[in-house]
């Protein structure tokens, strides 16, 4: 669904540039997107099947750490005390938001979630490296995400009979069941839009800035859950959200987005 939405948004404006992309750049973007969406999707879906929701909710935030470390190593983005302290505060805030302060019991799926974080980070680092000093629009990267990622994910679906039962059940389903169509439409539209603004951010700001500021999403999710799903929010979660927002304000007004 996201592919259709992206095709409608991106192709009329950028089709000529996509066709004329240098071969090396096209391969780089396809590789980045297959790792991000294909491998990341496989590891995250498998990991969720083999761990608790609490563990998964917190561990996906580990992408913050992996992205910053990889951006420091491969993109030479600065590692400052402000950045390190802000990340630590955000991780703690994210922990409180996701777990309400509960302790985590390690499970085997946790490793797969961390691998998913690595895949998402590597994808974002490759995208940032490819587009930051070029005239390539971030929207082109967004269009190529499902183009490169869906075949990889389908390959893992094809291999699903070989997986352990718990993981196999995640990938075994009626792929042509239309009873959830309204949700699929909504999800496809929001997925397309989140990819567009993710890659537009990577075009104008560092990968570190993007990953740290995107912690806002946890706060938005909590607000939506309280407003529309009538979920209860506890004091540790409110405190965690405030910590994440405070660290985000510090990051926005610090110098970490220097190119």
């Amino acid at each position: 669904m996201a592919l259709i939405v992206l095709a409608v948004i991106v192709l009329p404006k950028h089709l000529k540039q996509i066709i004329n992309l240098p071969r090396k750049v096209m391969l780089g973007l396809l590789l980045a997107n297959s790792i991000h969406f294909g491998l990341g999707g496989f590891f995250s879906n498998s990991g969720v099947a083999l761990t608790s929701a609490v563990n998964a909710g917190f561990l996906v935030k580990f992408a913050l750490v992996t992205t910053i470390l990889l951006a420091w190593i491969f993109l030479k983005e600065k590692m400052t005390a402000t950045k390190a302290i802000s990340v630590s505060i955000m991780i703690f805030g994210g922990y409180l938001l996701s777990t309400k302060g509960q302790s985590l019991i390690p499970q085997i799926g946790d490793v797969l979630i961390v691998l998913a974080c690595l895949a998402w980070s590597i994808g974002n680092i490759l995208v940032r490296k490819t587009i930051k000093d070029s005239n390539i629009s971030g929207d082109i990267v967004s269009f190529l995400r499902p183009v490169a990622g869906i075949p990889v994910l389908l390959f893992f679906v094809f291999l699903s009979p070989l997986y352990p039962t718990q993981i196999r059940s995640v990938f075994t389903a009626d792929y042509f069941d239309l009873s959830f169509l309204p949700y699929v439409l909504g999800s496809g539209i929001f997925t397309a839009l989140l990819w567009i603004f993710l890659n537009r951010t990577l075009k104008v700001a560092t990968a570190s800035y993007m990953t740290m500021m995107s912690m806002m999403a946890s706060v938005f999710v909590a607000a939506l859950a309280v407003l529309f799903l009538k979920e209860q929010i506890s004091f540790p979660q409110i405190f965690g959200g405030l910590l994440a927002i405070a660290a985000g304000v510090v990051i926005h007004y610090s110098d970490i987005d220097k190119k």
């Binding site: 009626d174 949700y183 929001f190 989140l194 951010t201 926005h252």
Partner: protein
């Protein structure tokens, strides 16, 4: 150097749409859907 307003607008919209995508996913899982077909 202060971060550019464009970066802040883009990352805020990214976070907002990400949150909305998670919210819709939650509604669909509550309705009985499975993750992978939904992703594809």
């Amino acid at each position: 150097m202060k971060t550019s307003p464009l970066a802040l607008i883009n990352v805020t919209l990214f976070s907002l749409f990400w949150a909305l995508q998670i919210f819709v996913s939650k509604l669909e899982f509550n309705a009985g859907a499975k993750a992978v077909p939904f992703t594809l």
